[in-house]
């Protein structure tokens, strides 16, 4: 009978240990990929939100409105030479006719409410696979003339 340098039990234990290690390493790498993807999606959402909020705030400060022009989904910024308006349609936010959000980001909610001379805008964004979302509330002061 031929004599092997290791027994069958030793071989099975070796494969078992290697198999377990392989599965563990696989899980670890999968979780790293998943976590990175998750983090990148969140970063993308935040960047988009920053971009839109910045436009809202800048326009809110430099606008010179003569009266409050806002509905539940539109904010008007009146300038001496015309006006700008933010509005929301189904899943996109626009400044006049320019889309502010990228193709990969959807606008889930855009609510406008007023109290006195202040306008509160609630904005919620979500990513392409609609699994993550981020929201912010910005308050603007509507400058008015007192003639």
């Amino acid at each position: 009978m031929k004599k092997y340098s290791f027994t069958l039990v030793e071989l099975l234990v070796y494969f078992f240990v290697m198999g377990i290690l392989g599965i563990l390493i696989g899980i670890i790498f999968y979780s790293i990929i998943l976590y990175s993807e998750n983090y990148l999606q969140k970063s993308l959402l935040r960047t988009e939100l920053f971009k839109i909020l910045n436009r809202l705030y800048i326009n809110g400060i430099i606008s010179t409105s003569t009266n409050i022009l806002s509905t539940s989904s539109i904010v008007f910024h009146i300038f001496p030479s015309g006006y700008d308006h933010f509005y929301y349609t189904s899943s996109d936010i626009y400044l006049n006719n320019n889309k502010l959000n990228s193709k990969e980001i959807y606008v889930k909610n855009f609510y406008v409410s007023t109290s006195g001379n202040f306008v509160s805008i609630f904005l919620e964004l979500e990513n392409k696979n609609r699994k993550q979302n981020i929201f912010a509330t910005s308050v603007l002061y509507l400058w008015q003339f007192e003639e």
């Binding site: 969140k42 970063s43 920053f50 909020l53 001379n117 308050v139 002061y141 003639e147």
Partner: protein, 184 residues
């Protein structure tokens, strides 16, 4: 070298490899989760500072005396009402992903105050870091007398973070006959 000692060496190399891997994974998740948290916080802090700045600018424009009447080195926060915002004594508390954030503003003891200008410090205290932002409020009504001047002063702002420059620019408004009459 027999097979058993070879397996032993493989196991040892495996243990060393796994140790390095576990350290890397710990660092990866630890660092990323912190970056994630700071990034999440930054958007909250940005909106809070901007909201407070806008509301305080609005309140000071409507009635500057309520800014002047604030006590020095006392904490105040802005409380929403149906007709706007009111300045209330105390600290605003807000929860963001089970972390508590404190928001308030103070009028520091007459630093930088001159000619109807008031310096305000806005604070945000997060569980990890404290943020501070300064805002210089001016009594615009005493400085701007007609619509053309008002247009110049309000359209001179070019970014959201230039409030102090904006008020400095008001001093440079060219005087008109109305202004001279008022001075007389």
């Amino acid at each position: 070298m027999n097979l058993k000692s070879q397996i032993l060496i493989e196991v040892l190399i495996g243990i060393v490899f796994l140790s390095f891997l576990s350290i890397l994974i710990f660092l990866y998740f630890n660092v990323f989760s912190k970056i994630d948290l700071i990034s999440e916080e930054s958007i909250f802090v940005y909106t809070k500072f901007m909201n407070y700045q806008n509301i305080l600018l609005g309140l000071s424009r409507e009635n500057f005396s309520q800014i002047e009447d604030l006590e020095y080195n006392k904490s105040y926060f802005l409380k929403p009402t149906t007709s706007g915002y009111i300045i209330t004594e105390g600290v605003e508390m807000e929860l963001l992903k089970s972390n508590q954030y404190l928001i308030w503003f103070e009028k520091p003891s007459s630093i930088g105050e001159q000619d109807n200008k008031k310096l305000i410090y806005i604070y945000i205290q997060s569980p990890f870091k404290a943020y501070k932002n300064s805002l210089l409020l001016a009594n615009i009504k005493e400085k701007v007398f007609n619509q053309s001047q008002w247009l110049i002063s309000t359209t001179s702002v070019i970014s959201a973070n230039t409030s102090s420059i904006y008020y400095q620019e008001i001093d440079n408004i060219t005087t008109t006959d109305d202004y001279i009459k008022l001075l007389d």
